[in-house]
């Protein structure tokens, strides 16, 4: 396995930057709605003060909209916080469903995103010891690539199954055609996957795409001489 810090120093930062840019764009939209709706409330208040009748449901619609957008803003900030903390430990035990949930939530902030559903997982929780940041980056980039080729009408399903061939788990992407997936995975994504023992398998004729995640990786092999940074 390659050493994470020397291999991905800039690329990991670039991924961090891109995702944060999409989060900030989403938060800007939330603030814009709150700003305009608050402005509208002000305009309606001025109208009422000058004697123009104002329908009460206009006022309640405005306040409801502001409350909803504040909740939406909190939800975005929660994802930003989860994403920021995904880099806390180079290797830790994580539930793949949680990593999927974060990656999918982050992907929804892209303007070209389609819809992604996580299929229910039966049996024991899919827990692996891996680099959470790199794994969610791999899943996120897979979704980005999918949406870029299938468009924002895409309806992707992602599920986790026990891996038949190797010790670990399979993350299976389905519900779309791989026709048009010309260079996937690209060299950077391939190297990123190899660094944490993830195998990317896809078949454009049979329309399946899988990420095979090992149940554990060697932390010392992932870092430069065992030191972080």
């Amino acid at each position: 396995m390659k050493h994470t810090n020397t291999t991905f120093g800039y690329d990991a930062l670039a991924h961090f930057g891109r995702v944060n840019a999409s989060i900030s764009h989403e938060l800007k939209n939330v603030m814009a709605i709150i700003s305009e709706t608050a402005g509208l409330l002000g305009d309606l208040s001025d109208m009422a003060s000058s004697g123009t009748p104002v329908a009460p449901d206009m006022l309640s619609d405005c306040t409801k909209s502001i409350v909803e957008e504040i909740q939406r803003g909190f939800a975005v900030i929660r994802q930003m916080n989860r994403f920021s903390h995904s880099i806390d430990h180079p290797v830790e035990s994580v539930n793949l469903m949680d990593v999927l949930d974060l990656s999918i939530n982050l992907s929804t902030y892209l303007s070209f995103a389609g819809t992604t559903t996580i299929a229910e997982s039966d049996g024991q929780p899919p827990v692996v010891a891996t680099c959470p940041f790199l794994l969610q980056a791999i899943i996120y980039q897979t979704l980005v690539y999918t949406f870029k080729h299938t468009g924002n009408n895409a309806d992707v399903t992602v599920g986790v199954n026990a891996s038949d061939e190797e010790k670990g788990w399979k993350i299976v992407f389905s519900g779309f055609s791989l026709n048009g997936f010309q260079v996937f995975p690209d060299p950077l994504l391939q190297t990123m996957a190899e660094s944490i023992g993830v195998t990317i398998k896809c078949d454009s004729t049979a329309d399946w795409l899988e990420l095979i995640v090992p149940s554990a990786i060697d932390e010392s092999a992932l870092l430069d001489g065992g030191n972080i940074g």
């Binding site: 800007k28 709605i33 402005g39 509208l40 305009d43 109208m47 957008e69 468009g151």
Partner: protein, 164 residues
């Protein structure tokens, strides 16, 4: 009944709540606002004609703001377009200006700035139309000196075809 000089706006943004709030505020200010939540609907609405200014969100799924700008400027000679974006970059501003955008505003913006921009855009539209009509009148006067009445009608028809 609408006043003749009511400014007619077409606003397109995929954030429906934002679209609703802004269009309500603009209506209170006396603008006549129609909305669309995606680029394709905006292009279709503009075909029905009659809009003075369009407010277009840059980043939308599907047909994005740049494509809407391009199509509107190609098909509606005098419409002025104000672009809105949550993330303004120099490249985006240069590209939109090159395609004919009147102004480029970054969200969240001051509402009064938007109102001023709309009035300025409308003014620019009126001046452009007036200038175009003045030139047309000049050409007609020139043609009428040298042409028979039938020849003049033929030339004017060709002029109208060229203006479309």
């Amino acid at each position: 009944m609408e006043a003749e000089n009511t400014i007619k706006i077409l606003m397109v943004d995929d954030e429906e709540k934002f679209l609703q709030a802004v269009s309500e505020r603009l209506s209170i200010k006396g603008f006549d606002v129609k909305t669309a939540t995606n680029g394709d609907d905006a292009i279709a609405a503009a075909k029905k004609g009659g809009y003075d200014v369009a407010i277009v969100d840059l980043q939308m799924p599907g047909t994005d703001g740049t494509q809407v700008l391009k199509v509107l400027k190609e098909n509606h000679r005098y419409i002025e377009i104000i672009m809105l974006t949550g993330h303004a970059t120099v490249d985006a501003a240069v590209e939109c200006t090159r395609l004919g955008a009147f102004k480029f505003l970054e969200k969240p913006y001051d509402f009064d700035r938007l109102v001023e921009a709309l009035k300025d855009a409308y003014q620019a539209r009126i001046e452009k139309k007036f200038e175009s009509n003045r030139k047309r009148m000049e050409m007609i006067q020139q043609l009428s000196i040298h042409q028979s009445p039938l020849g003049l009608l033929r030339e004017m028809a060709q002029l109208d075809d060229a203006r479309k």
